[in-house]
Symmetry: C2
Subunit: 384 residues, 2 copies
């Protein structure tokens, strides 16, 4: 982090939202409301599973994505990362098998590894997780007499892939989960940040078998600095997760919960998401255009319909070898193998367009293109 | 919680601070400063180990208790509970032995049990942890070829005991830790809330062997609603704990960290703690007086020099049997066996004087005294 945080470095590495776009007047109005009427509540301990009013707000937020949930099944967490951690803590013992899309969110892989899970990746293509491969892996495991504890996937604008699971595959995945009693962790922090096309139903909304646990987050649609996320889980699982949370941090910050509530109850959150969509659409378009202009013809990349990330692949190039040179040129990315537990992804990189403005995105991609071209020339000169 | 949260119930159960005493003008001034100059930072992700400026603030807070620390050894956590959780996560595998004072903070015991630790209690008396018993237990374990992973203790105004470890025992405990290479978790959320007598040095300040990991919290001296605590640990341990935190919640809320920083940097925190000391001293005195008047002569209780809690014992009474009757009379406490992992504490109860005003403390203790007298009469009538 420290290298890429140097101001002269154009960082296309971190998945940071554009928090400088948060309106000052809204920030102040919400804090004033808390100060006037809910100060003692904001500063006190809260219920472990979160405030009821925020659970109801979350049901409203999920309805905006066409998903209907009972607020009683919603549990507030200290950010989306804690949602992943608590579910993993609840289900995983050392050696248990976890299926994860590949490439997968690196923070989830870190969590799985702290509980010593045995992670097996399921490949993705332009339409997200390859469900046929999931079935093949499940068959193979069954033949070995083993069962995975759950499948982890980000169906919308995946991190780092930038791909979206097609409707047909969503239906098929939910059917597989029901038929094989496979628990699916649907992680959906970016769902409301769609820049084109029609929204697709969440896995949770398609599921009728109780096999989907849904993980939500306010980090990308409001702010990560308020560490607020949530879990939607069937009642039997819910109580176990609450027990784990009690032992972990007692409750998520009531001050932060009231901040989120202020934003949702006032309706301002919808305007803010509109604003973010505008900012990110333009940055995504800039990045895709710059990639066309600056990256060598051998390179390929995903075209995300939403979210924060483009996943670029340059066949034959080890992006880990590239990183030090890129940093020398004051541009940063995340190397592809950070998103695999099994050594995959070495010829890919994650590029984030969420945090850096258009001018710097262009310049960053230009520098990166030059570094890649140099490296390819070097490989050729060495006969590699 | 739901029963004791009914407004007609006088709850002497929860360890809740008096957050209604937090000054509105201070709350607003701090939020205004954040809004004016640090809004984007407050709403963004932060470093996993916390902001450097807050680490320096914490060194200042610890200096107020006579403890000198290098800010580089300070790590910010999401409340004191996360501090306990992360250290336990770092050190404990299933079956490992943890030594804990008895009675011990119930939230710590819950955490130890989620990692399947084998908890052994060390008795306490009016001067805190009985260090002689600690030595005896260590000898016994050594004879069995076993080593405890750490000792957990709250030396100042313990929860639930209300007792304070004497200076002589502090010195001896630190010496034992050095001689036997025993890791000591010093949990000190109440240290600055002393209502009489001279402050005693922390174990960390007495230790020269690197065997003390210190856990701090802003929950009792500023607010639990901002979920801010800290760990002070030697560098080798520090890095492992940071890795665990990364996988758990990425970072503690920057908005909350800036709130704490605003309070400390302005110096206002010292005034606020003074104010709290005044409030709590009066409530403690009220509770001790009420106990003298209302509890039967067979009962004994601790006289805390600080903190939130009185630990009362009524020989021969199972306080678990008493709780339903007390709730019927609209008064609540925490039963003593909640603070033991081994079935101890059945004839004791924890009474908290921090949250309820003087009038309600008096009335609550009166009701409780009547319930206890009734129960003793019943036991006598039954010839028990």
């Amino acid at each position: 982090m420290s290298l890429t945080a140097r101001p002269e470095v154009i960082s296309l590495a971190g998945g940071l939202p554009a928090t400088d776009s948060f309106p000052q007047d809204v920030f102040e109005r919400i804090n004033q409301e808390i100060s006037d009427t809910q100060r003692a509540l904001a500063l006190q301990y809260g219920p472990t599973e979160g405030f009821d009013f925020l659970k109801e707000d979350i049901a409203l937020v999920m309805a905006a994505e066409g998903t209907s949930v009972d607020p009683a099944h919603v549990m507030i967490t200290t950010g989306g990362q804690q949602a992943i951690d608590l579910v993993t803590k609840t289900f995983i013992d050392a050696g248990d098998i976890v299926l994860a899309e590949g490439p997968a969110y690196a923070g989830a892989l870190t969590t799985f590894s702290t509980y010593e899970a045995d992670v097996r990746h399921i490949a993705m293509d332009a339409n997200g997780l390859v469900v046929e491969e999931l079935e093949a892996v499940l068959d193979r495991l069954e033949a070995e007499g083993r069962r995975p504890k759950f499948l982890y996937t980000v169906p919308n604008f995946s991190n780092p892939g930038g791909t979206t699971l097609s409707l047909e595959r969503r239906r098929r995945l939910v059917r597989i989960a029901a038929e094989r009693d496979l628990l699916v962790l649907e992680d959906n922090p970016y769902g409301l940040l769609r820049y084109e096309g029609e929204p697709l139903p969440t896995l949770l909304s398609l599921d009728t078998s109780g096999n989907v646990v849904y993980l939500g987050s306010f980090s990308k649609i409001i702010s990560p600095g308020i560490r607020s996320g949530w879990i939607v889980a069937p009642q039997a699982i819910y109580q176990k997760i609450v027990f784990g949370k009690q032992a972990t941090d007692l409750c998520s910050s009531p001050l932060n919960q009231l901040f989120v509530h202020g934003l949702i109850a006032s309706g301002v959150w919808l305007e803010y998401i509109e604003r973010l969509r505008g900012i990110y659409t333009s940055r995504r378009d800039t990045m895709l255009e710059a990639l066309s202009e600056e990256f060598p013809s051998e390179a390929t990349w995903t075209r995300p319909a939403g979210g924060f990330f483009v996943w670029a692949t340059i066949p034959g190039i080890h992006t880990g070898d590239l990183l030090a040179k890129a940093i020398d040129e004051n541009v940063a990315f995340v190397r592809g193998d950070a998103f695999y537990q099994d050594g995959g992804g070495t010829d890919s990189m994650r590029l984030s367009f969420s945090f850096v403005n258009e001018e710097r995105i262009k310049e960053g991609v230009r520098r990166l293109g030059a570094v890649i071209s140099d490296q390819m020339e070097l490989y050729r000169a060495l006969g590699l």
